[in-house]
C-alpha cells in the first residue's frame, strides 16, 4: 500500500454497529450492554440495530485494555473510564486556563 493516499472516515457522521464495536475492541456483548447501562457508552437505540459514534471504539478499546491488564470487572471499567474522561476534561480546562496566563 505504499504511496496510497488514504482518506479517513468523515468523522462527524460516522457510526459503528454493535458487531463492529465488539470486533474492534475485544469487549464482550454483555460488557458493552452493561457499559451502555452505566451511561459510559452512548448509542443510538432507536435505530434498528445499536449504533455508536466512532469515538466509542477508542473508549471500548481502552476499557478492554483496563479489563485485561488490571483484571477489572464492568463496574471497575465504568468507574475508570468515567474518571479518565473527567481527567481529560480537566486537562483540557487546564490547557485553556494556561493559555490565558502570561508566559
Amino acid at each position: 500500500m505504499a504511496d496510497d493516499l488514504l482518506i479517513p472516515d468523515d468523522d462527524e457522521a460516522c457510526t459503528v454497529a454493535l458487531e463492529e464495536l465488539l470486533a474492534a475492541s475485544g469487549l464482550g456483548h454483555e460488557e458493552v450492554i452493561e457499559l451502555v447501562q452505566f451511561g459510559v457508552f452512548h448509542c443510538a437505540q432507536h435505530a434498528p440495530v445499536w449504533t455508536f459514534h466512532v469515538h466509542t471504539v477508542r473508549l471500548a478499546r481502552r476499557a478492554a485494555r483496563l479489563r485485561d491488564d488490571f483484571g477489572l470487572n464492568v463496574s471497575g471499567m465504568a468507574l475508570a473510564l468515567t474518571y479518565l474522561e473527567r481527567i481529560e476534561a480537566l486537562e483540557g480546562r487546564l490547557r485553556e486556563l494556561e493559555s490565558q496566563l502570561p508566559r
Binding site: M1, A2, D3, D4, L5, L6, I7, P8, D9, D11, E12, C14, A23, A24, S25, G26, V54, H55, V57, R58, R61, R62, A64, R65, L66, D68, D69, F70, A80, L84, G92, R95, E96, E98, S99, Q100, P102, R103
Partner: protein
Amino acid sequence: MKFKDYYATLEVEREASAEEIKKAYRKLARKYHPDVAKEAGAEDKFKEISEAYQTLSDPEKRQAYDDLGRHGPGEEFHPSPEWDSRFSRGGQQEVDLADLFERMGFGGGGGFGGGTGDPRRPGADFPIRGQDVEVATELTLEQAARGTEVSFSLSVPALRADGRVEKQSRSGRIRVPRGVVEGERLRVPGKGGDGIAGGPPGDLYLEIRLAPHSRFKAVGHDLYLELPIAPWEAALGAEITVPSLDGTVAVSLKPGMRSGQKLRLAGKGLPHRREGAGDLYGVIQIVLPEKIGEREQALYRELAEASAFHPRLHLEGPTDG
C-alpha cells in the same frame, strides 16, 4: 535471539511465587499503564512489563522460559535443540522472544499492544479480525487549519501461512482534512493489520498532535494569543493590529482595558471541518518597558500626583476574619 530477563523486568526473584509475580505486575501496571501514566516512555515500559507478565503468569510458559536458562539481558543465545523441538516450529531464524512465546500455542493473548486482544494462535481456522494500528503525527497549526497530507510508516505483526509471526512494514500517505484538533483520532477503516483466515482487516488510526506555535495556543478550535499593550493604550484606548493565522486584524481597544481581559475575535480561530471556525482570543497584558527614560519618569511622577486612584484600597483596614 536476544535474551530478555523477564524477572528483572517485573523486579522479582526467579523463585518468586505466582502470587508475588501477580502483585509485582499489578504494582508496575498501575504505575506505567498508558491509560493511567502520562510520563514519556511509560508505554514502552508497560509493553515490557506486559510481555514479561504474559510469560511468567502462565505456569507452562514460565517453565519453558526457565528452561532457557540464565543469560544476560540483550545477550545473544539459542535455545537448546531439545527446547527448540518442543516449542519452536523448526528452523533457526531471527525471531523475537515475545513472538516465540506468542506462537507457542499456549493461548493467552490480550495485553496492551495486542490491539484487539485476539489470541493469535498458529493455524487458526476461524476468522480473526486484523489488528488495529495507531500512528501519531504532529502538525503545525497552519497545517491543521488548511488540511494536509502526512506520510506514515509502521510495522504490523502478520501471521504467515505456516503459523509464524512476522513484522510487515507498511507505509503510505493519509489525507488530513482541515479543522482537526489536538488529540483527535482519524480512522481509516480496513487499513490496519490483515485479517486471519478470512477475518476482516483492522483499522488504521491517525492521532493528531499539534506542535507548539510561537504565537498561538490552541484549545479545541479556539486560539489564544498573549496581547501586550502599553499602560497608555490601556488607559486611553488604541487602534492596534493583531496577528491571526491568516494575516492581521485591525482592532479598536476601548479605554480602560485591564490585564487578563480577553478580546474575542469571532471566527479567527481554527476552522471547523465543514463550516465556521473557532474564535481567536487576545489576552490583554499591560506591560512596561524594562527601563524608562527621564522624560517618561517625569510624566509618571506628574501622573502619580494628579491621580486620586488607590489600587489597594480594599486591602486596608482590619480583615473580616
